[in-house]
């Protein structure tokens, strides 16, 4: 009895409580999917995926080689004189540049993160 009642109620609800989307619903969804797929296909990454990893590995290897060489090499005089005298003004300019660079970089990163979250 209960099963029968449930079945009838289900039929009644399917008939009268099922909402219908607008007529162009499927087209709109497919257009959105296709335009997103097209945008993805054209937006090639500026750097290849493996390039940053390769650069990091090369950098670490070079560092290791230099450290190992520095252990085995004896003090040797360079065949040329390499000395640049910098005044305190240059150092303060370099430090100011580095501070400004990292502050802007940080703000940029935070801004981009916020933009992605709101999308």
């Amino acid at each position: 009895m209960r099963m029968q009642e449930d079945k009838k109620l289900k039929e009644l609800l399917i008939k009268h409580a099922m909402e219908e989307t607008s007529a162009d619903f499927t087209n709109t969804v497919m257009q959105r999917i296709q335009s997103a797929a097209a945008a993805k296909a054209y937006a090639k990454p500026l750097l290849k995926q493996k390039l940053p990893k390769t650069l990091i590995v090369v950098f670490i290897l070079v560092c290791i080689v230099l450290i190992v060489l520095s252990i085995f090499m004896q003090d040797a005089q360079l065949p040329f004189l390499f000395s640049v005298k910098l005044t305190a003004k240059y150092f303060s300019q370099i430090i100011s540049f580095l501070i400004a660079f990292w502050v802007i970089m940080l703000i940029n990163q935070l801004w981009n993160k916020k933009k992605v979250q709101t999308l």
Binding site: E5, A17, E19, M30
Partner: protein
Amino acid sequence: MNNHTDQVIIKEVLAGNTAAYTALVNRYRNMVFTLAYNIILNREDAEEVAQDIFVKAFNALRSFKEQSAFSTWLYRIVVNTALNKKKLRRFTTVDIGEQITSEEQENVYSLLQQHISRDQKKYIQLAMNALRDDGRICMTMFYLNELPVNEIHELTEISVANIKVILHRGRKHLYDQLHGLLKTEIKNLI
């Protein structure tokens, strides 16, 4: 393509046939929209959310593991997206401790049939909208999305026992609402 199973269509889509996804959209659009609408209670927002859900599902199709039915996976996206739209983290329910009395176990459908003779759609939609959130959503999932109670539990995190009581109450409230609406209608006609 329209007669193929969900799994076959998904394989087609994953193989690169994006157009095959149309069949899935057509198959589930009304059910997704109905569930979203019953959570949000706004047609325009529900339609927008339903579109977002299908785009999200398409983008995440590779992560669908076929351990559950595609519909269950899709409805999970519906629940999360619609609740997010409604700015809710999860369903809010009131603990139902009271027993179902024998008086409540009346034949709801026969009463519905007896009371509704015309404008059925209008009355049923009004009555559904007047139900409490949890009742309306569980009724939609159970009767319209044809989800078993254990899957509704997974989607809503409401206990199985509570879902059964909510469904029972939903049926009764639906009848009460219809009864009230019809009485008002008759009074208006007089």
